[in-house]
Amino acid sequence: MMEELAKVPWAVIAPLIIVQIILMIVALIDLRKIHATNGPKILWVFIILFANLFGSIAYFIVGRKQS
């Protein structure tokens, strides 16, 4: 198990994963705070969680309702 983990080229993969996690967390925090979204809130939770990178970006572009 550890050997297989060591084989993964972390220098290549780590930044991608970090960016993905930051985007997801920020989108979820924002979703928690925001008053209303375009479309049901629970839908956006699933989109952010399961449509990895694309989901959080889509939330920021179209999901947020500017009040």
Partner: protein, 260 residues
């Protein structure tokens, strides 16, 4: 410039609270990562999804580090600009539509200061974004392909930033002149149709703002005349200033369009 500092603070706070300082740079960073990665792992990707027949051989082009920076700039040019313009185009027209502008316009602010404060904040976001984008692209390129020349990077970075300033100025001008929907259409038309036209019949002229994005790298490779580069730069800067001027005038004229 009455109240410029106050307005600037307000714009910064607004951009910060809507997370624009965080997610737009991250999107650019992703775009910057994508090209070096996909090019490097192209063979693996093809093997994994492409149903490659037995004994199939393909000659992959030998890519230099500069080629990858150019490819990343190509990514910024399409998806990056789309994201950036989509999030900026409502800056003035949306405020008019939802009545927030009424609160501001009732006070003795100067429209020039207000417009410029928006412009400054957006150019800061743009700067951070392409810094992140170039950073990600350079990181992967150095890991996977080899080192880059710092001079070439600086030149292409600043050239691309000047082109982005032009894009922001056009977007804001359209936002000041029209309602959000029309402004979106007009701004996208100017930037993207301009690029397409430049791509199709652009060989007949060498000086245009739409060429500037690719000139940063081309200048370093020596494939273009120096005078063309400088003239494009000067014309782009001049157009940016003209757009800001028109934007301020239109903002003042459309102040009555606000919803009360």
């Amino acid at each position: 410039m009455r109240g410029f500092n106050v307005l600037l603070q307000k714009e910064f706070r607004e951009a910060w609270r809507s997370w624009k300082f965080l997610w737009i740079p991250l999107v650019f960073a992703l775009l910057g990562m994508s090209d070096p990665l996909t090019n490097y792992y192209m063979m693996d990707i093809l093997n994994a999804v492409g149903n490659v027949p037995e004994g199939f051989e393909m000659l992959m082009p030998e890519l230099m580090p500069l080629d990858l920076i150019q490819a990343s700039i190509g990514q910024f040019q399409t998806i990056g600009l789309l994201v950036m313009m989509a999030s900026f185009v409502g800056a003035i027209s949306k405020e008019r539509a939802n009545g927030m502008a009424t609160l501001l316009y009732a006070r003795p602010i100067s429209f020039g200061a207000y417009f410029l404060s928006k412009f400054v904040v957006m150019s800061t976001i743009c700067f951070v974004s392409i810094l992140a984008g170039f950073g990600a692209s350079v990181y992967y390129t150095t890991i996977l392909y080899g080192t880059l020349d710092v001079g070439a990077l600086l030149v292409s970075f600043s050239t691309y930033y000047i082109w982005l300033l032009f894009v922001i100025a056009v977007t804001l001008m359209m936002s000041a002149s029209f309602k959000t929907v029309i402004a979106t259409t007009c701004a996208f038309t100017v930037i993207f149709v301009g690029q397409i036209i430049d791509m199709i019949i652009g060989i007949f002229w060498t000086i245009s703002p739409w060429k500037l994005a690719s000139y940063g790298i081309a200048k370093f490779r020596g494939t273009i005349e120096m005078s063309d580069y400088w003239w494009s730069l000067v014309i782009t800067l001049a157009l940016t200033i003209i757009c800001i001027g028109i934007g301020i005038v239109m903002m003042k004229r459309n102040a009555s369009m606000t919803k009360i």
